[in-house]
Symmetry: C2
Subunit: 178 residues, 2 copies
Amino acid sequence: MANEKKINYVILGLLNHEPLTGYEIKKRIDHSLKFFWSGSFGSIYPALEALEADGCVEKEEESSGRGKIIYSITEKGRALLREWLVKPAEKDELRYETLLKLFFGRELGREGILDHIQKFEEKIRNELLILEGYAANLEKVQDEEEHKYYLLTVRFGIETYRAYLAWCEEAKAVLQKD
Amino acid sequence: MANEKKINYVILGLLNHEPLTGYEIKKRIDHSLKFFWSGSFGSIYPALEALEADGCVEKEEESSGRGKIIYSITEKGRALLREWLVKPAEKDELRYETLLKLFFGRELGREGILDHIQKFEEKIRNELLILEGYAANLEKVQDEEEHKYYLLTVRFGIETYRAYLAWCEEAKAVLQKD
DNA sequence: GCATGATATATCAGAATGATATATTGATGA
DNA sequence: TCATCAATATATCATTCTGATATATCATGC
């Protein structure tokens, strides 16, 4: 089969912490999971419907207001989540357009490639600051057991990004010495 | 628009170095680009047909033998490649299922998470050896201008993977001290 | 001669993206 | 008071891409 709908497990994992609307799930993905996962509305909403039809999540529709739909995980959903969690990770994938352009760099030339590296470096530097902020918070507030795991993913990001920045310096040096 | 067919530029970039069949393109992606890009037959063959209809590549069909189709880039194709190369990279994305499972680690527990980290570490260790082999070769044989850029992408992989391994040690230490 | 693995092209269901459409709520400030 | 704008919220769809499968040929070793 083609990929086994990873979005389902993302949703179940997030709902396992607290009930959420589809919109809030998207926000969690874009903030907390941002550095190692992504997801769009176009996959979230249909997946929520399918999970509900399957009995893995329950919905509670707000009758008043704008009628937002709050989902929570069921015991069946939690079982499905656990089943996936114990299985070995299938795919860890890095997909960097910057590196693709760098690989074909001869056609673009030294200056163009230096531009790409420059932009990459700036983006990483900004995101590193954000990650360091997260880490500082998580190190202070260790009230929930989850935080230990959250902090480990943040630490992964920090160490990776520092390695990226070191590489940027090296790459610039290589390209600048003619 | 939904993503602008990156596979086109991968194909043009590879053909810009030498004429190739669809099958050979897939091999190049799986070996040379493996650490930062991927691509499937299901996207390569249709893309080659479309690029040919567009005049960006030319095909030469082997009349004898199994009738393999060798594609080469045209001037129009090279122009399209250059046009894309100068544009800033749109998306650099990391998508690690291992980190996703780690983030939801509370539900799985310490032992299960240590298993995932162990497997991740082994995979990275193996791939690092391969990358170091590539680097050694590329450092020796600097006969083509391309090699400078190839080496930079390999160096990126090496430094990143070393950071991953350092993180693995840290993560195991954090989880093992109860 | 024949099994096996590599080469080679092709197709397709299913998954996911990114864009767009629509409507409501809350906050700002003129 | 009320206009405006950003954030909240759900939904849909064309396009892209994956991963699997099908089919056939070529090269190699036994």
